[in-house]
């Protein structure tokens, strides 16, 4: 089976005065469908940058990027946006729910940009509310929810379009560990159902939910580990 994501010599740099400052350097990466990958690394390593590129929010880079064999590096902005819209869901560290929309309306947002008819929208939102156990919260505003609940909505919003790929940038960074576990279990279930997931996290515990860890440092991929080992290590009484 073809990888869902193939990165070849991907580089991103910014001008820094007279110099060129590399945020990502010669990144080569294959991610298979239904994989659950964790990206780890110190702050400033380029994790978010990499996620934005994979998520097609950022188009300013060099190298090759194939999404489902589609050469993203050759697509114009419009095509890239369409690809992104059709396949990718985002989960953010600070949830990024829209303040003045209710939970229900927040979930509706991605659907509204895909011309989903009203009836289907409602049924899909209701479905998601059900699946994530937040039916009771549907008329509340984000500031009336706890952080964990907000992130639950954030995840629900990311999956409401049934994306092939979910990108989560430190999704539990603002949550207590119990709340974090809940989100991770959610990811696990989604992954088991076939969704590819790439997450950034600082927590080994979260990483243990995935299959593979990619280590990033100063824009370089510096290592890869299968989490079976990590998980085993973590499980071993020290």
């Amino acid at each position: 089976m073809e990888p869902i994501i193939q990165l070849r010599n991907l580089e991103k740099s910014v001008e820094a005065g007279p110099n060129r400052f590399f945020l990502l350097r010669r990144v080569n990466l294959d991610i298979q469908p239904a994989e659950f990958v964790t990206i780890m690394g110190p702050s400033g390593a380029g994790k978010s940058t990499l996620l934005s590129i994979i998520g097609m929010l950022d188009g300013a880079w060099t190298g090759e990027y194939y999404f489902n064999t589609e050469p993203v590096h050759r697509l114009n902005v419009k095509k890239r946006n369409e690809l992104h819209k059709a396949n990718i869901g985002f989960v953010f560290q600070s949830y990024h729910l829209i303040d003045n929309l209710t939970v229900f309306e927040n979930l509706e947002v991605p659907l509204s940009y895909k011309n989903v008819p009203h009836k289907e929208r409602v049924s899909r939102v209701c479905d998601a509310l059900d699946r994530f156990n937040i039916v009771g919260k549907k008329d509340l505003f984000p500031n009336q929810l706890s952080g964990g609940q907000q992130q639950l909505v954030g995840v629900a919003r990311a999956v409401i379009m049934n994306p092939k790929l979910i990108l989560a940038d430190e999704p539990t960074g603002n949550l207590h560990s119990a709340q974090g576990d809940e989100i991770m279990q959610l990811f696990k279930r989604l992954n088991d159902a076939g969704t590819t997931i790439i997450q950034v996290t600082h927590s080994e515990r979260n990483a243990s939910y995935g299959h593979r860890i990619i280590q990033l440092k100063d824009g370089w991929v510096v290592g890869e580990t299968a989490t079976a080992d990590v998980g085993a290590n973590a499980a071993q009484p020290g």
Binding site: S48, N81, F90, P110
Partner: protein
């Protein structure tokens, strides 16, 4: 005191810290306050400024009115005589009227306006002559003495300011008057004549000279100076006694329905202009409100960014009241700066404003910027400062301490209320603008309608020159005809002249003479009141009025041939209703005159149907009638030219002088100018309402731009999220435009409702379009929508260009 000083210093520092913000706010306020100051200066000068006479509130005007109606009628000279006998409430009482005089020297003549006044006229106003004396009771008796009081200007012109002028003679209308006094410089009784608005009197003569003549004796405004302490109630009860008395004495004039009443003299002056001036003041008040809303919006936006400062101050123990005071001080300081700049704008614009004003605007000399206007501007500025500053100050200080001090959080609730207020303000701006623009739209539609209204003649290529013959050697119809012929011959000989005619008793589009006629052989020979004009044979050709039936006057229609008249279509339609009018007869001056022709209708007022008119050949006119009408309406030479009529002004003037230098000339105008002049009030109102509407729309546009741009800047993150969720730039653009549009439509909805109610105020001005004309309403709404879309498009495009990467980076 110390704290106010501190507040002020701190406020000044804060304003200096945000120079861009301060500049925009001060400029906006300067526009609003400046325009208000300018209009108020006019309103104050025309309607409110105390008249420049001692104790002006003791001067009243007496009048006869139908019970319960405000239309006042002037009195007759007999009534005035009897009013003088009811001494108690009046210290002085006087009547006045208005006439023209020809003032002749050996080799030229000048037409001036004069006021025949009764003896105590100057005492009523409380102004003594600067030189000599006023009138004595004896001089205003019987047929009246030939004595005159001159205006300062006339004295300088005729006597070079010689104090020895008193006792000398002036020749007016061919009669010698002894100068008995000269009024002080600037003396102006303010009440200009209804027929010659804007023209100042330059000479005063005893009323008795004209009181017994036909016409003048019937229309005498009476003013009185009340004794000190006389209350309106006392005066009214006295007037009731007078009413009773007059009903017995003048059963014909003072009937059961009429009562004697009085009004402050000041209220009588400019009363015709009052509704229009008040409309303008109201309209410009709207503009100021819009300016306030804009500045309030700026402040609300800024208070968002000052939330932390305010929270810290509150945490340090400032009371909310103190903070509100501090913030209000800032806004008042800003308003005062705007007021000062506005005052400068107003004084700079005053000249152009007055230049545009119709000549019928009275008391123009009383329109000036002075301490009272400064006080007004100061008060308006203070009020404005509080008006736009209060709500933002209250909102700014209503922060939730713990939330604001916690970074980032808590923007939801207070910010939400604030943004609702901001949106409400902008919607209100659009509502107010819509009302103004609808008014402007109705005026523009009216104007277009009037300009496309056929006046009944072709005003292009027609020159007119007024002249007066009163008191000259032309004291018979034959003498006048000889002059007419000589003048017409000379003008005909000028190059570029196609046709020449002369008309007496009124040009088209201007007030003219009316007179009684009777139709010969009518079943009920009721008296008809119709327009009356004396013309020479060339008149219709010169002014371009078509002959519909019969023939025009010719040289053959002379003093000795049988009397003939021409009537206009309205006359024929109204009084001959289907019958063939040619060959019928009307009684005119006791003569039976044959109708020999029917001409097309010519309008006296563009917005009214033409009035029935009878044209009499100048050669057959009765001299007395001719002279009577000349007291009010000048005669006019009418010249049709092949090129620009105004280039012939000087040659025509010289042609008249060449025939007789003692003919007093008046205005030389093209008929296009006469037409424009007849539209002066409407064009003034149209121009100002359009200007105010435009200003309002501009401010409202800036307002919605500000609100949407601010909202976009506040929502960068949200827009980034939406884009990460799949929103395309076009969809973001539509979303932002849609939000702007929602506000605007709300405003327009309220605006339309308000406009439907308020347009009634323009009733007297609007012509040819309905008050609720759908075309005007739709066009105004479309224009406003367009402006709103343009204003929203800029921030909307910025929103569409938000880079989700940048927007979402703040983690």
């Amino acid at each position: 005191m110390l704290t106010i000083w501190q507040d002020l210093r701190y406020a000044a520092r804060m304003l200096g810290k945000y120079p861009g913000f301060t500049a925009v706010a001060v400029l906006t306020l300067a526009l609003g306050i400046g325009a208000n100051t300018a209009i108020f200066t006019v309103v104050y000068g025309v309607l409110l400024r105390p008249l420049p006479f001692p104790e002006p509130d003791r001067i009243v005007q007496l009048a006869e009115a139908y019970q319960g109606q405000s239309d006042e009628m002037d009195l007759t000279s007999n009534q005035l005589d009897h009013l003088c006998e009811y001494g108690q409430p009046f210290e002085h009482i006087a009547g006045y009227t208005d006439v023209g005089f020809n003032l002749a020297t050996a080799n030229e003549a000048e037409h001036i306006r004069g006021m025949p006044v009764s003896a105590e006229y100057f005492q009523v106003l409380g102004v003594r002559p600067a030189l000599g004396r006023g009138f004595l009771r004896e001089e205003d008796h019987g047929d009246g003495e030939h004595v005159a009081v001159l205006s300062h200007g006339l004295w300088i012109r005729r006597f070079g300011g010689d104090p020895g002028a008193v006792g000398r003679k002036v020749l007016m209308d061919g009669e010698a008057y002894t100068v008995i006094g000269v009024m002080p410089q600037g003396f102006d009784p303010r009440a200009s004549s209804e027929l010659n608005p804007g023209v100042r009197a330059e000479v005063w003569v005893p009323l008795a000279l004209v009181a017994k003549t036909a016409g003048s004796g019937e229309n005498i405004p009476v003013i009185a100076r009340l004794r000190p302490g006389v209350t309106p109630a006392q005066l009214q009860s006295q007037m009731d006694v007078v009413t009773q008395d007059f009903r017995v004495r003048y059963p014909g004039d003072v009937t059961k329905e009429t009562v004697m009443s009085f009004r402050p003299y000041q209220a009588m002056i400019g009363s015709e202009m009052r509704p229009f001036l008040l409309i303008l003041l109201g309209a410009i008040g709207f503009v100021l409100l819009i300016a306030c809303a804009n500045v309030a919006n700026l402040l609300l936006a800024k208070s968002g960014s000052r939330g932390r400062e305010i929270a810290v101050r509150l945490a340090l123990g400032a009371s909310r009241c103190q903070l509100v005071r501090q913030l209000i001080t800032e806004s008042i300081l800003m308003a005062l700066a705007g007021g000062a700049l506005g005052l400068a704008l107003a004084s700079a614009g005053m000249g152009s404003l007055l230049a545009m004003a119709p000549s019928t605007l009275p008391r123009v000399g009383d329109i000036r910027l002075d301490a009272r206007i400064f006080a007004f501007t100061f008060a308006v500025s203070l009020l404005t400062g509080v008006l736009f500053g209060l709500a933002p100050a209250i909102y700014a200080t209503r922060t939730n301490l713990s939330e604001t001090l916690k970074e980032g959080e808590g923007r939801a609730s207070a910010g939400g209320r604030r943004s609702r207020l901001r949106k409400g303000l902008v919607a209100a701006e659009f509502a107010l603008s819509l009302v103004l623009l609808t008014g402007a739209g109705l005026m523009i539609a009216t104007f277009a309608k009037l300009l496309s209204t056929d006046p009944g003649f072709d005003p292009r290529h027609v020159l007119t020159m007024q002249f007066w013959l009163t008191g000259s050697k032309y004291d018979s119809t034959r003498a006048i005809m000889n002059l007419y012929r000589a003048v017409e011959q000379r003008i005909e000989a000028l190059p570029g002249v196609k046709n020449v005619g002369i008309v007496a008793a009124g040009l088209p589009l201007e007030r003219g003479g009316r007179k009684g006629f009777a139709i010969a052989g009518a079943k009920e020979p009721e008296g008809i009141n119709a327009n009356y004009r004396e013309i020479t044979p060339g008149y219709f050709a010169a002014i371009g009025v078509p002959l519909e039936l019969g023939r025009r006057f010719t040289e053959g229609d002379s003093a000795t041939s049988h009397p003939v008249v021409i009537v206009n279509e309205s006359f024929a339609r109204r009084y001959f209703d289907g019958r063939y009018p040619i060959g019928e007869h009307v009684y005119e001056n006791g003569l039976l005159s044959e109708i020999i022709g029917v001409v097309g209708d010519v309008k006296t007022y563009l917005d009214k149907p033409a009035e029935p008119t009878v044209f009499v050949p100048a050669s057959q006119a009765l001299y007395a009638t001719s002279k009577l009408f000349e007291g009010w309406f000048p005669r006019s030479i009418v010249v049709e030219t092949s090129g620009d009529p105004l280039t012939l002004g000087q040659p025509v003037r010289e042609a008249v002088t060449a025939v007789d230098p003692l003919v007093a000339p008046g205005a030389i105008r093209s008929m296009d100018q006469v037409l424009t002049h007849s539209l002066a009030l409407r064009s003034f109102m149209m121009f100002l309402l359009s200007l105010f509407g435009g200003l309002a729309l501009f401010l409202a546009g800036v307002g919605i731009y500000g609100v949407i741009a601010y909202a976009v800047s506040q929502r960068t993150r949200e827009i980034g999220v939406r884009m990460a969720m799949g929103a395309q730039p076009g969809q973001v653009l539509t979303m932002v435009l849609g939000e702007g549009l929602k506000l605007v439509l709300t405003g327009l909805l309220f605006g339309v409702a308000a406009a439907l109610m308020l347009m009634r105020l323009l009733e007297g001005l609007v012509y040819g379009v309905g008050m609720h004309d759908p075309l005007v309403f739709i066009s105004v709404n479309l224009v406003m929508l367009f402006v709103a879309l343009v204003a929203c498009y800029v921030p909307a495009r910025r929103a569409a260009r938000v880079d989700p990467l940048v927007a979402l980076r703040y983690e």
